[in-house]
Amino acid sequence: MNLPDTQSPVVRGISDLSGPLLSVRNLTTSFVTSRGKVRAVTDVSFDVDRGEVFALVGESGCGKSTTALSVMRLVPPPGVVDAGEILLDGRDLLALDRDSIAKVRGKQVAMIFQNPLVALTPVYRAGAQIEEAIVLDEIPRAEAWRLAVQVMGDVKISDHEERALSYPHELSGGMRQRVMTGMMISRSPKLLIADEPTTALDVTIQAQILDLLLDLRERNRMALLIITHDLGVVAEIADRVAVMYAGRIVEQAGVVELYEEPLHPYTQLLMRALPRLGKGQGRLETIAGSVPSLVDMPPGCPFHPRCPMAKPICSTQEPTARRLPSGRMVACHLVED
């Protein structure tokens, strides 16, 4: 889709096209509760290159959604971003005021949400919701409607001209996810964040939506930041992966390397917990213990109470993320350079 470029001067700004598209540096986000400040994201750093598919993986509550919402500057109160930089084309999104960030959303970075069943307004027709997004680029209504119907086709909705006139409750879950995806890509953002885009859908639809996202990435030359707990999804579409545990990135690597040789004990255990066909090994392995509560973090490495290989140093000193000679990143005392 070729929309005229109506970026405001504010948004165009100074852009650094040589570096990564998105660069998150030492991001720390916390929630202010009656029991004090709870850190949901601690010192997270990662880069997403242009056109790349980057996955953030982790259990529920590990801070992956909060990381994504921090990038969108949509962390719900009482959450606050305490520290860090979020550079999009070299511009720090955390430094923008309310109006400027609204101009970045949708146009530069957009986000699709977990539950497509309630992510559309019940009172507007599907096509009209996409049209709402398109008119933000100051395109006249009639033209916007035509483009909206076209977008419905782009996200592979069958009978899209007819479906554009349907209300959300008349559409299936998969179709609603496509409509929301259409809304979000209609302004051709450079980065699309997808927070558990397939969790609420059944397996056959999941595969279709993932294919659609990859296809759209190719066509719109956008980068994808996928948030998921599903290592299967990661294997299928990601180029690079960051594994999160208790608000920290514990390991970061290319998808093939990570699957072939997971370095962090947590990643290794996650891999072993994956069901595999034909091995006949009986029950699935689980990781003993549970995720530490964010209000009551163990000292040292947050994973050491569950780690089968923990050493004395692990319970006293928190490992910092290191870049290995191979270019991979890992935060563990046990990994040798």
């Binding site: 949509l74 970045v104 949708g106 986000m111 949400f113 992510a119 307004t121 019940p122 933000l136 809304m183």
Partner: protein, 278 residues
């Protein structure tokens, strides 16, 4: 899943049907007053004054020999027009304040909620009396006064509805899309409250008509010879024992209209949102 709006549901709801019929009757009478009224509302006929219902007119005549039926018929225009204007002003005011309070929260919410509670706590007619006395008696001032004392119900309802809607994922999605706060309030949240507003507006229309007629009855609203139902009632009150029909018929007209709108409002509520309590 929302219930589908269907004509069948409409027919099955007796309250709604009765309300609708009364509403249509009043509407037709108001629009067709020029054709339905046998005489002009201010045409005096002194020799025929104070005639009881019968030969000289279905509802009789008043102390100036004016045909009461014609006056009551023309009165419906005033009642409907004034009621609608009041409802439009109070709902725009209340809905806007409720949206702002519910959406932004914080000090805006505290200020608006304080105003709402203040307005809610004072007896509306007394407050309206004070405002009209300050502005001077006229129908326009009565409209302003009634609207100023009755927006609080809208503000409260829309505030709480906005508070729950603003956390819906579709609002978050709108934000991720780059919509401004104003656009989110008016294009995403407001349309989702329309069914509430329609019901509340229908239910507050009879109150608006009753309040304005009361003030006209007290001599603060429409001035004679306007055929305002309140004015006619007032004119009849001193003759209540000699010519009770002068007061009875406008009184019945008020009751009939108010009843109709109440039935309509409650019927609509049952159809649009059965769990709502207004």
């Amino acid at each position: 899943m929302k219930r589908q709006f269907s004509p069948r549901l409409l027919l099955r709801n007796g309250q709604l049907m009765a309300g609708l019929i009364i509403f249509m009757t009043v509407l037709v009478v108001a629009i067709g007053a020029d054709y339905l009224a046998p005489k002009a509302f201010d045409e005096m006929d002194i020799p025929n004054k104070l005639q009881p219902p019968g030969e000289s007119g279905v509802m009789g005549t008043d102390q100036y020999g004016r045909d009461l039926l014609s006056r009551v018929i023309y009165g419906s225009r005033i009642a409907l027009r004034v009621g609608l204007i009041v409802v439009v002003i109070e709902s725009v005011l209340g809905v806007t304040l409720g949206l702002v309070a519910g959406y932004y929260g914080g000090w805006a919410d505290r200020l608006i909620s304080f105003l709402t509670d203040m307005t809610w706590a004072l007896p509306p007619i007394v407050l309206a009396l004070a405002i009209v006395t300050a502005l001077g008696p006229s129908l326009n001032n009565v409209v302003i006064a009634i609207a100023l004392v009755s927006w609080a119900g809208y503000a409260r309802l829309i505030r709480s509805k906005t508070q729950s809607l603003k956390n819906m994922p579709f609002v978050e999605a709108a934000r991720a899309l780059g919509e401004s706060d104003t656009a989110i309030m008016f294009r995403y949240i407001l349309p989702n409250t329309f069914s509430l507003i329609i019901v509340l507006a229908t239910l507050s229309l009879p109150t608006a008509i009753l309040s304005t007629t009361s003030l006209s009855f007290l001599g603060l609203g429409s001035q004679p010879p306007a055929p305002d139902w309140g004015v006619i009632l007032n004119e009849g009150i001193s003759l209540i024992f000699n010519a009770p029909w002068i007061s009875i018929f406008p009184g019945l007209a008020i009751v009939f209209t108010a009843l109709g709108f109440n039935l309509l409002g409650e019927g609509l509520r049952d159809i649009l949102d059965p769990r709502m309590k207004v």
